[in-house]
Subunit: 138 residues, 2 copies
C-alpha cells in the first residue's frame, strides 16, 4: 500500500509513520529532507520549491510501486512540499514499513534517491547574494 | 551530540526527531523496531524485554559515539524500551541527523545493527504455545 502527495502544507512525519505502521511489520524507516542553512560555506536564507504537480505525483506513485515490488516492504508514504520553506523545515518525508529492518532501510533509501533523481520538483535557493535555481530537486 | 536511554516508558519518536534536528543538517533518518505479530507463521501475543540497565545504557552511549566518529552525522538519539510490549508498540527507536542523507542512513543503520548485536537487552516472546527467551535482542 502506498500514499504519496505533493503539498503546500507543512509536513508532519507522525502522520506518515502512523499510516505505514502495521502489526505484521517489525521495522519502520523514515527519512526527512530538511532545509539546511549552510552548503559549502554558503548561507541559505530560504528555499522555494516548484513542482509540475500532476507529473510529480505520478512519478511519486511510480516510485512507491517500485519500492513495494523491489523490496519486502509493506507500506510506503511519501510527501514532498512545495512553496517557500525556511531553514529547518521539512521539504520531503518518507516512511516505509517492512517485516524486517534491512528492507525498510533499503526501500526508504531507494525512494529518496529516486525522488531526487526523477520527480519534477525544482528548488530555488535564496542566499545572501541573490537567488538561483539549483536544478531538479537534489 | 548524543542522547541515549533505556526506559519503561512508551517511546515517542517525535521527541527523538526534534532532538536531532539541526539547522545545518539536511537529512534526518529514523528507525523504529516494533513488535510484530507473526514471525515465520508463528503468532506472538506480546513481548517482554529485560535489560542489564546500567551496561545497556553504557553500550548505547558507546554506539552513539561510534556513529558520530565513523560517519558525518551531527546528532543521534536512541531509546530502547523494556518491560511488557504489545503488538505494534515501539521497542527501539533511533534518529540521526546529518548534513547529507547518505550519512544519516548509514549512521542510523549502523546504530540499530550494533544495538541488536551488543546491547544487553533480552527478549522473551509470549506466543500461543507458551513463552521463550529469544536471546539478546534481535
Amino acid at each position: 500500500m502506498k500514499h504519496v502527495a505533493v503539498t503546500q502544507e507543512e509536513i508532519d512525519v507522525r502522520h506518515l509513520i502512523e499510516w505505514v505502521q502495521d502489526r505484521n511489520c517489525g521495522a519502520v524507516c523514515t527519512f526527512m529532507g530538511t532545509v539546511r542553512e549552510f552548503t559549502h560555506g554558503k548561507r541559505t536564507l530560504y528555499l522555494e520549491y516548484e513542482a509540475y504537480q500532476e507529473m510529480a505525483e505520478k512519478m511519486m506513485e511510480k516510485i512507491g510501486d517500485e519500492v513495494l515490488e523491489k523490496f519486502q516492504c509493506t507500506k510506503i508514504a511519501a510527501v514532498h512540499r512545495v512553496g517557500r520553506l525556511d531553514i529547518g523545515e521539512v521539504a520531503v518525508a518518507i516512511a516505509v514499513s517492512a517485516p524486517h529492518r534491512k528492507d525498510a532501510f533499503q526501500g526508504c533509501r531507494y525512494a529518496i534517491d529516486r525522488i531526487k533523481e526523477f520527480v519534477p520538483i525544482w528548488k530555488k535557493e535564496y542566499g545572501e547574494d541573490g537567488s538561483y535555481w539549483v536544478g531538479c530537486n537534489c
